[in-house]
Symmetry: C2
Subunit: 162 residues, 2 copies
Amino acid sequence: MMVRDATGEDWPAIWSFMRAIVAAGETFPYDQEMNEMQAREIWLSHAPARTVVAVEPDHTIAGSAKMGPNHGGPGAHVASASFMVDPSRQGKGAGRALCEHALEWARSEGYRAMQFNAVAESNTQAVALYRSLGFEVLATIPEGFRHPTKGYVGLHVMHRRL
Amino acid sequence: MMVRDATGEDWPAIWSFMRAIVAAGETFPYDQEMNEMQAREIWLSHAPARTVVAVEPDHTIAGSAKMGPNHGGPGAHVASASFMVDPSRQGKGAGRALCEHALEWARSEGYRAMQFNAVAESNTQAVALYRSLGFEVLATIPEGFRHPTKGYVGLHVMHRRL
């Protein structure tokens, strides 16, 4: 699984799964009604942030990640990142490849830690992946996420030093 | 201390202290170099978010707050808020008035909780105020804030149910 910088030409492929992931409302705290322009504005980052795609050997885009400073100024030495994997391409390692890539990038850019602000605790697959890569749950916002079928669940703040 | 909605006409007064607060880099994780247009874009909110000012009896603007959803979609039922008080007008209750106002507003809008994402633990006055209003520290991001004289200090995530 190769990970490379995303370009404008990758957007239609990214949107094809991002649209479904956002509309499902099971994992991302994004407005489920967001339109394509808003989604593109949120997802395709500009420096110092960055957006990448995970590409399968047959050139299919299996997932995407964005990464950058979690806060500005005196908080800009801690990175954050978000990951989306095409639901039809799950289980092939795209999520892990993207997360490992983000960690390496953040380390090489001199960030001191990486933090995820909003990981739904019901998203057990993502929580397990992040834990396996050294993240720990620093806090769980009680009832911070409203899952469409599970109701209010906790929202983890996850962190690891780099 | 009266709290009312901010208007465009309040901006010069807000910027007069916001500029100094941001440049000092002691409390807000904002880019210290931000210019007036960027600051205005960040601070003057649009619905569903909202910006208010605290006004003294002589009509002086002593502080300002912005408040709104902390996340979108499935996370939009938790509010967040930020507060700035003119350093030359501290100790007159503007911070408390703004925070109480934000809590009442969030409650009336149906939010279930309020969360602050980035409270520098060195900002003991703010931490004490928030605790006195029912907030607790859910987590402290280790070394999450780089204070100009104290070096790396923790960054609190604070929360209270409404």
